[in-house]
Symmetry: C2
């Protein structure tokens, strides 16, 4: 069972976030998805329906259209999965205060996803925001 949860999560990150297949989110996301805790994310604290989640993917991917998550390790139970990950993306679209720079940005993070009835129902996430800002500044 835990392996099923890991397979689900790996496929989700690949299809939805790496490939940008927003329609595929319908296969992975529960009817109500709660962003429990995600400092710096514009949707932090919100509950999203599928359309809301798809909008989050579109807006988040726009500045880094070639972005890619690479999973380092996953810990799972029946109702949760926590991947550690590295991320890379080329800064090709504007961000508030940071016009597109063409820089390759590297980031790492950990996420704990809720799993319910074979779908992802929310997350608690921590990313290295300070590391990203330093790279965007070019410092």
């Amino acid at each position: 069972m835990n392996q099923d949860v890991k397979t689900l999560l790996a496929a989700f990150l690949c299809d939805v976030w790496n490939d940008g297949d927003v329609a595929a989110a319908a296969r992975y996301i529960a009817p109500r998805y709660k962003v429990h805790h995600d400092p710096g994310d514009p949707w932090d604290g919100q509950e999203l329906d599928l359309a809301g989640y798809q909008e989050r993917v579109r807006v988040s991917r726009a500045p880094f259209p070639d972005q890619r998550f690479d999973i380092v390790r996953m810990v799972a139970e029946d109702d949760a999965v926590a991947p550690t990950w590295h991320w890379t993306g080329t800064h090709l679209g504007d961000l508030p205060g940071f016009p597109a720079s063409g820089r390759l940005i590297r980031m790492s993070g950990i996420t704990l996803y809720d799993v319910a009835a074979g779908r992802l129902a929310g997350h608690w996430q921590m990313i290295d925001r300070l590391g990203v800002y330093r790279q965007l500044r070019g410092g």
Copy 2:
């Protein structure tokens, strides 16, 4: 078994990090402890023996002697446990660039600990460094 791992982790955070009982680390820490990934931590990437881990606890706790981790949720397998957590600490000791301010600092994070033979053998951690810096600056 997963419950044992969660009980171990909760007791470790309480005894060693919240209470500052550095000697108690001997009950929880494996002979070799690897800091796999912990951006901003002075021991990031290092392998520590027990004395090295105890030194990390002492140095890290000194600026925030009343610090406290509160676990939000844990996901565990036999060989790993990942807690999400909130942290508070009063800034009573100097940090590089930030003299003691008396401010109550709030932080959140996620950690994935390796577990081997009933001991903690390493971690991959992500904390909200940017949020902490903003609070230390008093901005």
